[in-house]
Symmetry: C2
Subunit: 229 residues, 2 copies
Amino acid sequence: MTRKIIRDGQTAEEIAAVLRAVIIAGKHPPETMLFQEELAERFQTSRMPIRESLKILEREGLVLLPANRSAVVAPLDVESFVEINEMRAVAEPLALRHAIPELTNRLIAQAEAIQDDAEQSDIVEFAALNRAFHMTLLGPCARPRLLSHIASLNHLSQRYFHTVAVELEYSASSHKEHRALLAACAARDAASACAILQDHIEAASRLMEDALRAKEAAPSSARTEGRLQ
Amino acid sequence: MTRKIIRDGQTAEEIAAVLRAVIIAGKHPPETMLFQEELAERFQTSRMPIRESLKILEREGLVLLPANRSAVVAPLDVESFVEINEMRAVAEPLALRHAIPELTNRLIAQAEAIQDDAEQSDIVEFAALNRAFHMTLLGPCARPRLLSHIASLNHLSQRYFHTVAVELEYSASSHKEHRALLAACAARDAASACAILQDHIEAASRLMEDALRAKEAAPSSARTEGRLQ
DNA sequence: CTAGAATTATCTGGATACAGATTTGGCAAT
DNA sequence: ATTGCCAAATCTGTATCCAGATAATTCTAG
């Protein structure tokens, strides 16, 4: 409503954060065209901060910016999903190895609480809580670059949850693995915690991949393409 | 000479590429201030593409962009170097595992040629050739996101070579490890190639880390700070 | 002569304006 | 009726302009 007059040099980041959340939540399906003018109107600003925020999201892999054409929400394809999760499977254990010595009981309890919520939530909430669970345990690793890398990957990965129906067996096994991971963290057993985490990411990724391929073979949902809104 | 008038929407990327090369080559030491106006003059353009290119470099970790202040070349600190190489040590073997089945004899010969050059070059050339060697072997992995991630890390890592004198023992062991890696690739032995690569990155990183810490303890060279140029 | 405050200069961040590229719609020809 | 081409509308990319913030300089007071 009230316009921002403060030039804090962070407006682009803030806009990017909103757009990121919207795209991750699946509000704008893949191939949705994002016009600078429309976004400028929506965020009550000029096109300039919009352009910067789109560049940010492009580098994160959430949108594509073809030259002289409108930005489009990045497509969801199985190959990308596999690649993203392969990267998670090596990056997250690295972070966890350094995080475990710094993990407080308070943080572990916090992760446990998130997992409690996750186990009785629908698929949309689950996707966000799943990411929050992972980031909570990895947070104390004291490696900013690694953490932001992992955060990006998790954002990308999270988008795919909206495309496949809840796989009960997926959730069930995922929950079990999260509980095992919590136990290893509580015991400060870095080696087994890292192994569990890697296995968990690979197993979850494989289940999701199967679901995605199945869906791809039988494309049920009508494509919701077109302009923004 | 004649400037580009075509608006191909890639000027920012091109400027970023030049600045990236300059910073990596150590032409602009850490803490060098990069003024938008000066850069605009230098590249014969307005400040707008400059701003975008600086944003690109910021996200890559090569420059810092404090709010309402001039961009500065990112500092070189040991912690960052360690973090960057930890990330390389898990990301590159992942890429190599997928690259090996796709590696042609031609590519291996190309990597061999790069290594031949590297073994009789000074430290500045060595840094660039070292990166080229790694990227050549990882190129065919068919994972664009992973490759650009690794390329970024290698750019960041390469900067540190200019800060320490040539460590003869570093080069010697590095060369030996590169040759072993080539042999494993030629044999298409993915498992041992990945192991060699990981060990190589970790060993090289450790040697460099020691050199950096030694230098940090005895800061000999006078700081070359100040404005651009 | 030094320290602090106010004023000036400089630089960045955002808005507006303009030029080029792409796409869309209509018109004509087959 | 369909296809190819031309023109108008739309949208992106760059330049210029203005406002706010930071840094530098000067002036004044002790």
